[in-house]
Symmetry: C2
Subunit: 331 residues, 2 copies
Amino acid sequence: MKVSKLGEFRLIDLLAKMISDAKVDRLAPDRPLIGIGDDAAAWRPGGSIELATVDTMVQDIHFTLDTISWQELGWKSLAINLSDIAAMGGVPEYALVAMALPQDSAVSDVTALYEGMIKLARGSQTAIVGGNISRAPQVSVTITVIGRSLNGEILRRSAARPGDTIAVTGYPGSAAAGMEMLTQKLKLKPEAEKYLKSAFVHPVPRLAEGQFLVKCGLKTAIDISDGLLSDLRHICKESKMSARVFAERLPVHPLMKGSFGDKAPGLALSGGEDYELLFTGSSAAVNKAKSELKCPVTAIGEITAGEPGKIDLIDVQGKAVKTGKTGWQHF
Amino acid sequence: MKVSKLGEFRLIDLLAKMISDAKVDRLAPDRPLIGIGDDAAAWRPGGSIELATVDTMVQDIHFTLDTISWQELGWKSLAINLSDIAAMGGVPEYALVAMALPQDSAVSDVTALYEGMIKLARGSQTAIVGGNISRAPQVSVTITVIGRSLNGEILRRSAARPGDTIAVTGYPGSAAAGMEMLTQKLKLKPEAEKYLKSAFVHPVPRLAEGQFLVKCGLKTAIDISDGLLSDLRHICKESKMSARVFAERLPVHPLMKGSFGDKAPGLALSGGEDYELLFTGSSAAVNKAKSELKCPVTAIGEITAGEPGKIDLIDVQGKAVKTGKTGWQHF
């Protein structure tokens, strides 16, 4: 069978099972608290919890060099990894950078990439301690980030409970709208162009926000990389829960809605690469986050007891809507 | 300027300087003991020393699928990273695996890759705690390994001193000979074919050996990935030393010599991917390693005070020999 037929998530499940069956998923004598399948791996090496995550950006799969500058690529390559640490409510510590480059790459492009990465590393107090450079037919950047938990607490995908409010930071779908604008060369209002481009090429990992959610006593979060519904499904599957999402509560940015009209809700539900946080918890804790965080926080639905992974999208009339494409898979 | 003109090592130096100038090479409040430029990054987070390394294998650059099986590829992708931990005298703890695959990859090939990797993970007590899968036009495997020092001591590239004996484990050049045999489809004696193929596709990281060198009080080592002379030059540059290597002392495996004749010494000096350890220290400490390690240990030269990075290759008559290509660079 081809991996394209099996699909990315089932392939990951298969490989995770091989690793678990072989018992190489654990650090003797400490078994990881959470293995493959959350935003980052996490375990307790002695008191505090250590976090580790890795992510790759491949040219012409995740980006094209006509829609993102080298500096933006450096920023984004680190940002998508820091976002995984943010989704655990963690504090990043250090990064290792593995870069593949065609032979004819310009040195000035590579240093621009590092400028973007270094800017975010400084802003997020992440040390860049090592790396590797290989030759390859296309550019790719694979970054590993190691971090730690705040006060020994982390946000997981598996901690959602019936009655939890589902909330999201920022405006999901803006990154996907930005990508569509750039790849389709759409001409929009300058203000919309600026906002949507920035959402796509310059995501800001929600590190402070993730850490604040931990302080609010929240337990469950994921970052939106595959798309809101797809990532909510990850939470529901890991927590063995269902969910109800109210379509009219989705926070759609006015500049996105103004440019994309009827397509806006679909982008908000299924567009990937937002790197916003999707989290669940008591309405009191969600309200505390909403009132104290500087970024928008919107309650969009609730966790229910039911078939694990089942999500009902409810329209204004209170009816369940059929959802189409609900996220992005690699194969 | 193109990266191919600047060269891999000068590009790494340039990027390392950017990181250092921006002061993102340090973990507040702990500055890394060793930053970019050794086999692994190393720092002291509180007592013990933590080690981190990353390495990539790209299809048609580092391997072709007609010369290595998927299982061997899985083994080797992890082995080359464990070798970096071995070259620090460290103990591996856990690995993160980032894999890029074409859409039409067979699931059975991917699971075979994991089988090879898991076999080595078990044998080396390395946990596989996370990973990432991307689509890409060709297969690539990027593995990050985190480890720790043994008893707070590590082997560095920068600790060689005048008068140190230079020694090497195993038989350098065998992997390069194996690669040549496989790519050129050479027909050799079955015993030679088996040995040379194994040297290339199934390197065994010298973890126990590296740890034993630390116990012998040795301070300086590198693993041979670029080629013996090239890696010795890394030691000399980092230690600000010169070196003298005696050509007739090079350990050339009889099966390699029997098949490659006059080409054998060149392969031993410049062939990469051996993942043997090249180390320096007092003759007493080297002799202790030689008498107690199970693998061959051969003294091949000595460290001298002199122009940093200068290596004299001395022939049987005691004359300096001119060396040609002395290692492998990516660009």
